[in-house]
Amino acid sequence: MSKLAKIIRMEFRLTVANRVFIVLTILGPFLIAAVTILPGLLSTSVAGMGAKATKIALLGADRRFVQEISPALLQSKIEVSAVQGSVESLDSQVKAGAYDGYLVMPPDFSEVTRLEYVSKNSADFRVMGVLQGVIGKAIVAQRLVKAGIAASQVASLTQLPGFEMRQLTQGGERKENSDFITILVTGLTLAMLLYMTVVLYGQVIGRSVLTEKTNKTVEIMLSSVRPMELLFGKILGKALASLLQYGIWVTVSAAVLKLIGPRIGISIGVGLSMSTLAYLVLFFILAFFLYCSLYAALGAASEDEQHLGQLAWPVIIFLVIPVVMITSIISTPRAPVIVALSLFPLTAPIVMFLRILVGAAEPWEILVSIGLIVATTAAVIWLSARIFRVGILMTGKRFKFLDVLRLVRYR
């Protein structure tokens, strides 16, 4: 076995045997599942959460109208009742808790342009949305009936047609249904995965390189191996450990969602084609190693953890930029700035992935982008090996940039 392989094995074992790593590996899928399922539960099915029905008073409403709309509202756990009286008396009833809110109904539906919903809860968007949908639709239907259209025809006449997109590419038709939301979600998935990984493992690798210095083990290691071997070994060992963790997470999460998901009425449609998935994995791994090597360089350059934290934050900006620009990347994927960002190694993984999803990346651009990421990763590791060596001599004092350049030239 080569010395590099031995270092990789040692670093892998050190990482995997760590208690935090084990706990995270076990809890991770549950966290992921919780994060994926909870919003679904909260937004779609309040019933599942055991919440009480929301009581809404409809001030001045017609009893027949209330009967008409209440079944639809009950599905969303909203109980409506027609009441008569003054706004003031209802205000006090809502304050006292007899109702969760009330809606002032106009006497004549044909002229109304807006309805006022009064509630104690300022962010009652869910109730508001449901009321708007059900009551708004009922009002429009009444207007149409009044205008002489048969009540049975109203539903089909007011139905909006659904839209589908079919994109033509040089390679032929794309079968994938790549609508804006799917691309956005897929792109954000990569961005979030990278962000999480960089924050978690980038720091781990940076710290591991740093402790090699602060632990004073570095001289012993360098009496046996090259600085490059040591750094490559550290990065690869930790990277493999984290990829193993990701593999476990993804497998278990998928299994959990597949088993439990249907029972609680939630389906997660990960509508990814094989090629998209391949690109996702490819760019994730490329970016992962690039950022790991950057953190290794920072670990080599810093002299304590605090210093490492200070040096490390600008790195994250390059992950945030593509996320902030995500809509412009999707809508104008061939703009010069976007093309430049898709070639610049630090932003390339996310930006180029999005451009591929939109179908606006030429094959040569993809190749150049990948080539640049790989070359940069190698260059950064080479550089950090140099800095590492410099760092040994410089322990205890901050070295200037020029020192680094001078010592980078060392044999």
Partner: protein, 306 residues
């Protein structure tokens, strides 16, 4: 064989190593001596290719050190460090494996060394609870576990208790007898005197003296006499005969001037004090070191005008 040819190294304005040349012979124990900050560690780091010299060359068997040569070298750096979370036996086996050493032989040697340094019970524990001296012994084991041909030890004795010092000294001597070429740095002259065959004394990066211990002692052996006595000596009466007197509580070490004979001194002293021991000795390395590096008036020695 390790050979340094006019090697220099500066850190900013400080000339840490100034045109140092020496060569070790196969199977010898070579001592690199000097006070704190003399440049000993810098020299060893340059030999290990951790630092690059500004000028001069370092040859390992006649050519610059190659990556493959590292497997034949054992190195104990001045700064000690172990992975805190790794068990001692795993750490040691790992380090030996990075030297491409045969695993089964290493495992056997590991047990022997741990027993020798009284560390057997620590074998499967992490070094977090080790004392500084114990950690140092573990690191010494790390430097010899792959049975290297060359051993570079930077201050191997610093911080060790007397028993551990003895054990380590015996271990180094034994390795030397088995043919390992050993280069070590120290400012502990007593230890150096007992185990080195040749030495290089440096101060402020420059060579002060080098050669075999025997040669140096005879060169600096100005007819030194150790006298143990009761009573008080009038050192003024010895002027013209004595170069230097080192006073110890019960005895003195007297360096005679050229031409003065121990006989004359003895005659002179007989009248003054009752002598219990009178011995012509070679000067201790300590005294030579202090004379060469520390100058006069330090550590109990006193220079007589004469």
């Amino acid at each position: 064989m390790i050979e340094l040819q006019s090697v220099s190294k500066s850190f900013g304005q400080v000339r840490a190593v100034d045109t140092i040349s020496f060569a070790t012979r196969e199977g010898e124990i070579f001592g690199l001596l000097g006070p704190n900050g003399a440049g000993k560690s810098t020299i060893i780091k340059m030999i290990m290719n951790i630092l690059a010299p500004d000028s001069g060359s370092i040859l390992f068997d006649g050519s610059p050190i190659r990556e493959s040569d590292k497997d034949r070298i054992g190195y104990l750096p001045e700064e000690r460090g172990l992975y805190r979370k790794v068990k001692i036996n795993e750490m040691l086996l790992y380090l030996a494996s990075l030297k491409n050493a045969d695993r089964s032989a290493v495992e056997k040697r590991l047990d022997e060394w741990l027993a020798r340094f009284d560390l057997a019970e620590w074998k499967t524990r992490t070094p977090e609870a080790l004392s500084k001296g114990m950690a140092q012994k573990v690191q010494f084991i790390a430097s010899v576990l792959h049975d290297p041909e060359f051993l570079f030890l930077d201050e191997p004795f610093s911080g060790l208790d007397p028993v551990s010092t003895d054990v380590l000294r015996e271990a180094i001597l034994e390795l030397g007898r088995r043919g390992t070429t050993i280069l070590f740095s120290t400012h502990n002259m007593e230890v150096a005197e007992r185990i080195c065959s040749r030495i290089l004394v440096i101060d402020h990066g420059r060579e002060v003296i080098s050669g075999s211990l025997a040669d140096i002692k005879s060169r600096y052996g100005h007819n030194t006499v150790a006298v143990e006595f009761d009573g008080a000596i009038d050192f003024g009466s010895l002027a013209g005969m004595v170069r230097n007197v080192s006073r110890f509580p019960r005895w003195v070490e007297v360096e005679l001037l050229e031409g003065a004979s121990p006989q004359t001194l003895l005659k002179c002293l007989v009248g003054q004090v009752s002598i219990r021991r009178f011995e012509v000795v070679s000067p201790s390395l300590h005294n030579i070191f202090v004379e060469l590096v520390g100058g006069a008036g330090k550590t109990g020695s006193e220079r007589m005008s004469g």
